[in-house]
Symmetry: none
Subunit: 211 residues, 4 copies
């Protein structure tokens, strides 16, 4: 751990950040490459030098676009959540009336893309604590938003008497968690094809909330 003393904490707007198109482009370029590296080797094991090499941006100029390594992690995690939330805003989704179908859609969409960024979820679980408390809170509130969307579906389903469960919050949490099964336990899940897994998960989850 080098120089934990001089830490510049990300998120604290000390200097008005540039926000020209090019600036943002460079930033997202950094975030994307960093995401890949963090997923593959972990946050602590990824050096700024590697990020510099991956992006082609000189390490010293890197600090022109981001404030610190910590900020990169923050932005990376933020991006993952943004992508998760986008799933719920896909056109047509909110217009689905049947809660069961809606839940099914969520599961399938999540796995469809989530299968791809399953590693990213793992990153979330693994690296969150590398963030200082203040940033961690921001991240966790983002997470809660995802849980909330699931909870809404469940509550609507209970009103319609199609779903049955004790605690909506608990169940929603469990569901988000279950959706990450593959990512977190992929070593034991390799025996199943994507389709098999989707099927098994769907049945498991639907069974848990139907009467």
């Amino acid at each position: 751990m080098p120089s934990m003393t001089r830490k510049t904490v990300a998120g604290k707007e000390e200097t008005p950040r540039k926000s020209s198109a090019l600036f943002l482009k460079r930033q997202s370029q950094i975030i994307k490459k960093a995401t890949k590296l963090f997923m593959k080797q972990g946050y602590a094991q990824t050096s700024m030098r590697e990020i510099s090499k991956a992006t082609g941006i000189d390490i010293r100029n890197l600090y022109y676009f981001i404030r610190s390594k910590e900020e990169i992690l923050f932005l990376v995690i933020e991006m993952i959540h943004r992508r998760e939330l986008e799933l719920f805003e896909k056109q047509g989704f909110t217009s689905i009336d049947d809660p069961v179908l809606q839940l099914r859609t969520v599961i399938r969409e999540f796995i469809d893309t989530g299968y791809g960024f399953g590693q990213e979820i793992l990153l979330l679980y693994r690296e969150s604590k590398s963030l200082p408390n203040r940033l961690l809170k921001v991240i966790l509130s983002r997470e809660s938003q995802v849980v909330d969307r699931i909870e809404e579906i469940l509550l609507r389903g209970r009103e319609k008497k199609v779903f049955q469960f004790e605690d909506a919050s608990f169940t929603a949490n469990m569901m988000v968690y279950e959706l990450s099964l593959h990512a977190l336990r992929n070593w034991n899940m390799k025996q199943y094809s994507k389709e098999e897994l989707t099927d098994l998960l769907e049945k498991h989850m639907i069974k848990a909330v139907t009467a």
Copy 2:
């Protein structure tokens, strides 16, 4: 010379290890302290110096008991699994005839102690990949043993027509995973007391396998 060439990799028994009582005592002393440190700050973020300080063993003598930092992680993870497996060997457990009751017991025992070492499970998920492939394999096969024990219970239950599910392996995996819900998502679970959580989990899990 920090010997880049002659690297000794943990687990590879080049020399027969010492195994006197005193030696093993020192080893487990190291492992226990390291476990705490790894849980709190992560493997990569914990330095040998810190482990040395925590154990009171001079850093150079530390290498008398362990081969490398990597080996410590290996032993730490191994110990966690050993503790998990011990749950299934508690006296009286195997004599329970009712599968539902047996499953309930597992859940309660797991949470009872697991609540305590929840952090350790997180460590498992988080740090496994810091191990080289060879050691990772050993660890994952240990993990499988835990899953296997659950699977046995499920299969016995299905034979007795009390349980119903599609895929025994998938379900057992999911259950082990669900049992770690609290550890991995404690930030969203703080709203529940230990008892509430146990109740909710139990109901959720039993519902998933009953007809």
Copy 3:
């Protein structure tokens, strides 16, 4: 982390190296000082910290100019060979027609400068094996070039019927070797002045190839 995993081996051009004039200047500055140190105390016995101190370049910035200690040794040895080969390219040398005179010139030039870098030849013999095979091959092929130049002279002489010997390659090798006599056995050679030695060597070597 001393990066046991991501090791960068000297010579393997992962990243295009810098090559500005200033960069090269710093590099040769390092090489020169390192040569001295290696000659005096040996490669293994010379620490990077010493090289840092000798060059006045902070040890951490040292790694900005060289990839590893190993690379320094490689560059040091390379430079020695470059200097040796330059002897054959001195103006006027190739225009000497008489092979005996040509050989004499080589011997005298070699000893003249070689007397100065005799220690460097010792270094060559002593430290070559500290290099990994890949780099060692490069070095040995450089060495062969020196032998080849001598061989050329010998062959020309044989054609002209002034020289006589069985095996050109063997003889050339032996000659290069004999030229290093002083460097390698200086402890027994101290009784002779530079001039005496040159005379003795010259006579010995010429006698070996004349009819």
Copy 4:
């Protein structure tokens, strides 16, 4: 370089050494294994731990038989010289009357065995300077004895008018040196079989001293 301050220098008989048969047996056991290790990896690169492992003697008990690592090197080099000198004492050797034949015999004997311990000669050249001055002197005087024996042969030959050369000492030195050609330049000598090399060397050396 660890603790160069506390150095216990070999050779200085501080404590009356044990000299029972077993003691000497253990010592020569250490020396033999150390010789191999030093040849393969160099003196500085060989650790006491490795010597301990190779001999099967616990590293701490090693110091019961030798005073320091330095002493091991001294004893190793001493043994090499003892073996060289034995060549001149082989029965029948001194009774050879013809100097040319005598020289031929030396060459052949030397290469015959020397071919086997060529590496040891290299060790001599490479590691001598790892010894403190006092010990180095002892070693070099041993070396001189070898040279002296050759010189004697040469002088006898000159008296008998079969040999002709300028400086006996220089020539003898050169001959010892030439005999190590293979060991020191084996990388370029691999093209020749042992027999070829012996032939070439013999002719080269005889030619250098005959009229």
